[in-house]
Amino acid sequence: MKKLWWAIFLFWVMKVSAGAATGPGLPKYFKPAPATVDHSKFEILKKDFKSPEEVTRACLSCHNKAGKQIHKSLHWTWTWKGKNNRLMGKAHVINNY
């Protein structure tokens, strides 16, 4: 009987302490990390762009791996090689809209 009372007491202590640990408010993990760059300070972006391709060239002059990365992405290819080499992706499938 003594053991049982001890167990109940311990459980109550744990319950109370766990309750105290979770205070109100929202977790802060989801705030985006602060930026380490201010793009408006770059000379290469301070010009009067005449075409969007000019902007892309300026982006890629620093982000020199981004072009190849995009070329591999579904957002660029609109093609997805599925099982048995079935060609899918927005450029290939049909829907009923």
Binding site: P52, V55, W76, W80
Partner: protein
């Protein structure tokens, strides 16, 4: 998309995909700004093959697209946001919320009620919070390939994927609000091997904008004294449109539930299919026997669309283009539109067009409701008309029963009651007797 290039590619992350000869190896044709604009002023013109308006331009005679200020936008690039992803993804199907049923523009300033994670005043997730991105490869389900990551807490060894509910919530996600233990949650946590989180936590879909539930192309092309017709439905979007046909819309809809293992099957262009209606175009795979499968909510979309009865092929019509090109939205002739579309797709066309009913399914995974709005036990565990009334392969207590087992149970209850009454009664009577004898 084939043969309707410049309309469709207005959502391509690039510039100038105007026909099948577009050179996908050009780097300068990449559109960085559509994803990385943070000013909210960058827009692509709906019919310019992915280009933004460089001069003020009017779309469809109504909507003004202001010239974009490329320098201002370029100087203010940053991370993607709900707004930047939404510029295309909220408008799939040709309008706000039309196709998906669980993503629309109301997510830009989402309330907690609409989306507990994107709640602008709360957790304020962006799309990329879950759709983790490494070197511009954005995690997600890709057609027949399931989304990456395991159904468990995402740890650094899991290559950074954080796409699934379980990535953050774990496989036993229900935790007591106070203390360490709540006996009611044990059984709830046991559900996660057979019931996906989305099933209970997305109790309704199309909770923002109305979504399209039925699209009948066969009635398109009617005119009133030579003028196109647009009839509005009570929910706002058109119930009839000369270019599109007859449309049905819904809001706050109850999903349909199927076994789903994270993969889909597609009927591809050129694959012969009998006209057994409805023809399934895109469907989830899964079965109760499959360990990877769980019960999952879906939007079901019905359509009626052109079909070549001789070649037994779903027709890809040319919709968009100038007059005389065969485009349906210019010439309003299904045979011409089918001929032009199928020719460009490199597929045969017999010259005959009929209309067939088709169906496709959309997995619902967005607009997760707050916990107080989740389904309750009785939504499924009920004798009649429960949410899972049509689900096969599991014994669902409350829905399923065996009359004999029920009878035995009731008999046991009655006997127990009688036994307790007799035993208790005897004890009371005998106790009084013994007290008197003392």
């Amino acid at each position: 998309m084939v043969s309707n290039w410049c309309r469709c590619t207005s959502c391509h992350a690039g510039y100038g995909w105007k026909d099948k000869n577009f050179d996908l190896s050009q780097e300068e044709k990449i559109d960085c700004l559509v994803c990385h604009d943070t000013t909210g002023t960058y827009k692509k013109f709906p019919t310019d093959c992915g280009y933004p308006p460089l001069k003020d331009k009017v779309f469809a005679g109504k909507k003004l697209f202001k010239a974009v200020n490329l320098s201002f936008i370029a100087q203010n690039v940053g991370r993607s946001s709900r707004e930047s992803c939404g510029k295309c993804h909220f408008f799939s199907g040709g309008g706000d919320g039309v196709k998906r049923g669980d993503t629309d523009s109301t997510l830009v300033k989402a309330s907690r009620k609409l989306d507990v994670h994107m709640d602008a005043k709360g957790l304020n997730f962006s799309c990329a919070t879950c759709h983790t991105t490494l070197a511009h490869q954005i995690a997600g389900r890709h057609y027949d390939t399931p989304a990456p990551g395991k159904r468990n807490l995402a740890l650094p060894k899991d290559e950074g994927y954080r796409l699934k509910c379980e990535s953050c919530h774990g496989a036993r996600p229900h935790k007591p609000e106070k203390g360490l233990f709540d006996w009611r949650l044990i059984k709830l946590n046991d559900h996660t091997d057979k019931v996906a989180c989305q099933t209970c936590h997305i109790p309704f879909y199309a909770r923002g904008k109305p979504t399209n539930t039925y699209w009948d192309w066969s009635t398109a092309g009617r005119f009133n004294n030579g003028k196109p017709i647009v009839e509005k439905s009570p929910l706002g979007p058109p119930s009839y449109h000369t270019k599109k046909g007859t449309l049905k819309w819904g809001r706050n809809l109850v999903p349909e539930y199927f076994w789903y293992n994270g993969t889909f099957s597609y009927l591809l262009p050129g694959e012969k299919v009998e006209a057994n209606e409805p023809i399934t175009l895109i469907k989830p795979n899964g079965s109760p026997e499959d360990k990877e499968s769980r019960i999952y909510p879906f939007k079901v979309h019905l359509g009626k669309q052109p079909y070549d009865p001789q070649n037994k092929l779903i027709i890809i019509p040319k919709l968009f283009g100038p007059k005389g090109s065969g485009a349906f939205w210019a010439d309003f002739d299904w045979i011409k539109a089918s001929r032009a579309g199928m020719a460009e797709a490199g597929l045969p066309f017999s010259g005959k067009v009929s209309f067939v009913e088709t169906v496709q399914y959309h997995a619902l995974s967005h607009m997760v409701a707050p916990k107080e709005d989740a389904l309750t036990c009785a939504s499924c565990h009920t004798r009649k008309d429960g949410r899972l009334a049509k689900i096969k392969g599991v014994y669902l207590p409350g829905r399923d029963f065996s009359p004999w087992l029920d009878r035995i149970g009731w008999l046991a209850c009655i006997f127990a009651f009688i036994g307790v009454t007799i035993h208790g009664g005897l004890r009371i009577v005998l106790a009084r007797k013994s007290r008197k004898e003392d």
